[in-house]
């Protein structure tokens, strides 16, 4: 009887194993090729020149944020288009301004500074917050305390704007990442970021007094994928 049962089970196994519906399969490879897009465009204010020609200029300084008519000429507008998270590094090419009439004449970089203004859709982390504190914010700036304070001009390289390391990348097109640098010179403004305040002594009070000259320095900008 046991053998008959065994036989019946084996017969059923044979039927189960081979009697089934016919399916078919096909495989299609799909490839995604991501090319890097990374572009920095300075759309306005590629050459900034401060001209001190009155005592008031020496006393108060010149600023894009000042009430003086024509202050808008001290502005630099730039945009970033990037398909990836990015970082913008900037800084002066030399450690001081150098006189063009007499190269031995120098002026410290911290006589010039700027305030960073965000015009784009991407937003900065809250001023004073740690990086990544606000998930919706995608931009972070240490030297300007997230675009809330002025910063003196620093020597290259200095990280100006970086990704906020949240789920919202700072990647985007020119509408997402549009900024203005409001330049100033001799305004003696202070910043809570260490070493980033402008020269506390105005040009008229400095000792020795800066010699009359045309002082120049190149400011470099470098956009990199983060």
């Amino acid at each position: 009887m046991k053998k008959i049962n065994l036989l019946a089970i084996m017969l059923l196994c044979g039927l189960t194993a081979f009697s089934q519906a016919v399916k078919d399969r096909s495989v299609i490879p799909v490839a995604v090729n991501l090319n890097q897009v990374l572009r920095l465009s300075i759309t306005n204010g590629g050459n900034i020149e401060f001209v001190f020609n009155t005592i008031d200029d020496y006393k108060n300084g010149l600023s894009a944020d000042g009430a003086t008519p024509g202050a808008g000429i001290y502005k630099t507008d730039f945009t970033v288009a990037s398909s990836t998270r990015w970082k913008l590094t900037y800084g002066a090419e030399q450690t001081t301004f150098i006189g063009t009439d007499n190269p031995t004449n120098t002026l410290t970089l911290n006589n010039v500074g700027f305030k960073l203004v965000n015009n784009g859709i991407n937003t900065f982390e809250a001023a004073g917050s740690l990086i990544g504190a606000t998930p919706a914010a995608s931009l972070f700036s240490t030297p300007t305390k997230n675009a809330s304070q002025v910063s003196a001009l620093m020597v290259y390289p200095e990280d100006l704007i970086a990704d906020n390391n949240t789920i919202n990348a700072n990647a985007g097109d020119a509408a997402d990442n549009s900024f203005t640098l409001n330049w100033r010179a001799g305004t003696a403004e202070t910043s809570t970021v260490a070493l980033h305040s402008l020269n506390a002594v105005k040009l008229i009070d400095q000792k020795p007094s800066p010699r009359p000259d045309r002082y120049v320095v190149n400011v470099l900008f470098d956009l990199v994928m983060e």
Partner: protein, 210 residues
């Protein structure tokens, strides 16, 4: 002339020997029965089914502008496939239609680049009637996953066999569509690389007994 041949053989065997012969005969009978049953079962195909790829056996997405990276790319009619399906009229099995499923091939859990990876759901697939399957139902764009997901179903209670010439589906693909446009997120912020995934399609018959 009549020739009468008679042969008489007398075997004298003891009882243990008879038992061993009987066991041998039984074992032989079982083997024969198994062989016959398996042979009979292998011939029981309830239907036939075949997918035929007409074109689009490899789909490339080339993201070479910020606009494409922000808004994604849709490849309409990337692949066209023919459906062949016939009922073998086996008792107890009545073919009434089919479903087309898809998944990532070989359990691949992400879209693999040379260095980086993308989530599978950045790729979405849709199947629609191209020819002869107007009464079928398209489930629209579906996320690519490691599990089977149904893209298209077709049923016809008065079944007529389908042929790849007259019954075809078109497969569309979209990659990197932002959430605001119904996708799973754009590829903005993703690292440049050459990503690859294989998509597996399965044609499954349906009906009583299947």
């Amino acid at each position: 002339m009549l020739v009468n041949l008679s042969l008489h053989i007398n075997l004298f065997v003891n009882r243990p020997c008879v038992n061993s012969i009987l066991r041998f005969v039984k074992a032989f009978a079982i083997l024969i029965l198994l062989f016959l049953s398996n042979g009979f079962a292998m011939s029981q195909e309830w239907n036939s089914a075949r997918l035929t790829v007409f074109y689009g056996s490899s789909i490339p997405f080339n993201f070479n502008s910020l606009d494409k990276i922000k808004n994604g790319i849709e490849v309409n009619l990337g692949t066209q496939i023919g459906i062949s399906m016939a009922d073998s009229s086996k008792v107890g099995h009545k073919l009434e239609g089919f479903v087309l499923n898809f998944r990532s091939f070989n359990g691949q859990t992400n879209i693999k680049g040379d260095v980086y990876t993308l989530p599978l759901n950045r790729l979405r697939v849709k199947a629609e009637n191209a020819l002869g399957l107007e009464s079928g139902h398209s489930f629209g764009y579906k996320d690519l996953t490691v599990d089977w997901v149904t893209l298209f179903s077709y049923s016809n209670l008065t079944w007529t066999n389908l042929t790849w010439v007259n019954d075809q589906l078109k497969i569309s693909y979209e990659c990197g569509k932002p959430v605001s446009k119904g996708g799973n997120g754009s590829l903005i912020g993703e690292s440049p690389d050459y990503y690859n995934v294989e998509v597996e399609f399965e044609l499954v018959p349906i009906g009583p007994g299947f």
